[in-house]
Symmetry: C2
DNA sequence: CTGTTAGCGCCTTCAA
DNA sequence: TTGAAGGCGCTAACAG
């Protein structure tokens, strides 16, 4: 009744030894069917619970998995975590979720904490410019798996989407629908690969269609509605105003649309807008937003499987696997 | 470099004993300044990390806190968790977040897992009709703290908002602005107190203003956009159509508005709509939604403090504390 | 001030 | 098939 029953208690009651109880409980073969049954029954009666802490100390494996994301309250990260959960819980792992709030110091602290907690692996969508903190994970011999936001590191598997293609297809769609003066909002630290790649896709699409790349059309912001408004403020004070905006974030796209409408600029007739991530709200706005889907659920599941596969097959241990998912353009009303 | 340095390694190197190293590391007074310094330096040099698992086994305290919510990817729960994080991380606790996905069996499983993991406390927004699984937490002598969705249980503290008042103020606002045929959508299991109370507030407001309560105006649904549409479908096939809808969920309110607009019914001119929770999207829709704010960040912080206070002062141990926060009506465009 | 000892709960050799 | 013993890493008596 107390949750404090140990194998010794069972042993004492049954006049056997703790080792035997342990064997019975763990399906060890070297034990008589009779004692096994006896032990199992007693364990059930006494409401025995294995102490995972002791097991962890003994085995060196905690069955905890650490997850670090910028924020949990978006559909994107929520869904990735759901995918991780599905696969990892089924294998008996617990997930410890931590948020970096896009702060490098906070992320480093979370990493420290997870290492200290002896998690069996760390899944991270990293907000860090430096790999210093991440290197500590490897130094501690803890498997590290990137998803979405990865860093270039040896011996680390990753599951990402092809952000270059995402940026390319978004930009190409704008071009295909007649836009020529296409602005791009880098709605996050350009030091992060995802934003660099989306930007590169944008650049490449322009080049392939012989459209000049203009520095003044590329803005760097954070991922917030406010920043989207601010971006429009800047862009539409330029001598030559854009006729389309490709934002690397849905939230910034939303802010941009709001500000455009506030200025009585028609979306998409005068200006087309594309976001990124396919957050649910992009769909249920009156003026729904064209965006790029990143398949977060699948990303989570895949990341989990990559890890499980590494762990199960020791020969895969040091094989870094880079899975790249294809993004998908979702056409809605904010583009022509 | 390996993360496997123990106090014995340090002791050996320094020709002292592990106990002394432990003392030095833990700020014990009974130790000479000289040895303390020596140990601290060596520990740093050898990159010593305390093994939390061993500490947990020894002390019986894991420094893990379990949190169970229906879903993490809403602003409401995301913010509550942020509040919990702020307060608990500062005190050295790690947070394990689990999702019940509004499923009673899943919630029971999460509870089991957290108990097995020897968490020091469990914070829960419960989706369960029965208290059976929750009782196990108490049986295991683990402190339990409810937030938002509580159950009636002895010896359990809770932090909630006054859902009755929330329902009342929403309904009263509709009445005050001229609505008389007010429908209510119970957008979740009526077995849960929050939905019962919001409904009760609705009922009381009608009564206080001498408006008849009509069974056919009260619908039970899940919390999804689709269900909001379906609700309107039902309500507007009634002989006498409502002129207002109070939904206990923002998502259902959104679906309702979408369906009303699809039917060319003007919001709020013909039908006013109020949601609940103040999810961000209610604000940034073109037709922003009037709703009830629940102060989730404060809820999380408060819940954490209630627990910390109980733990710190043993005399508070068995005092259940019921904190009730006041909700706030947020006026927007979906009501007159 | 420091060392010795024991034990948290479990599992796993090694013997018997 | 079972028991005895040791150890995972740490801390807290108890001695000295």
């Amino acid at each position: 009744m107390n949750g404090k029953v140990t194998i010794y208690d069972i042993a004492k009651k049954l006049n056997i030894t703790a080792a035997t109880v342990s064997r019975a409980l763990n399906g060890n073969q070297n034990i008589s069917e009779k004692t096994r049954k006896m032990v199992l029954e007693a364990a059930h009666e006494m409401n025995y619970k294995q102490n995972k802490l002791a097991l962890a100390l003994k085995s060196g494996r905690s069955n905890y998995i650490g997850v670090i994301v910028p924020r949990i309250n978006t559909n994107f990260f929520g869904s990735v975590i759901r995918g991780l959960e599905e696969e990892l819980n089924a294998k008996g792992f617990n997930i410890i979720i931590t948020q970096s709030h896009n702060d490098e110091a906070m992320e480093a602290k979370n990493i420290e904490t997870l290492i200290d907690s002896h998690v069996d692996a760390i899944f991270i969508s990293s907000s860090s410019k430096s790999s210093k903190a991440l290197q500590k994970v490897l130094d501690a011999k803890i498997p590290l798996i990137f998803f979405d936001r990865r860093k270039i590191m040896d011996n680390v598997s990753s599951v990402t989407i092809d952000d270059f293609t995402g940026g390319y297809m978004a930009t190409k769609h704008l071009i295909d629908t007649g836009c020529r003066k296409i602005a791009h909002i880098v709605s996050g630290p350009i030091e992060l690969e995802i934003f660099r790649e989306r930007h590169r896709g944008y650049q490449q699409a322009l080049e392939d269609h012989h459209i000049e790349y203009r520095k003044e059309y590329v803005l760097k912001t954070n991922s917030s509605i406010e920043e989207g408004k601010r971006a429009v403020d800047i862009l539409f004070n330029l001598p030559e105003k854009p006729d389309a905006i490709f934002s690397a974030s849905d939230f910034v796209a939303l802010g941009a649309i709001q500000e455009l409408q506030a200025r009585n600029i028609k979306v998409p007739e005068e200006v087309s807008v594309i976001g990124f991530a396919n957050e649910p709200f992009t769909d249920f706005l009156e003026l729904s937003i064209t965006t790029v889907d990143q398949f977060p659920l699948e990303m989570g599941r895949t990341a989990a499987r990559v890890y499980l596969n590494q762990e199960t097959n020791p020969e895969n241990k040091n094989i870094q696997k880079k899975v790249v998912l294809e993004p998908k353009l979702i056409l809605r009303k904010s583009t022509r």
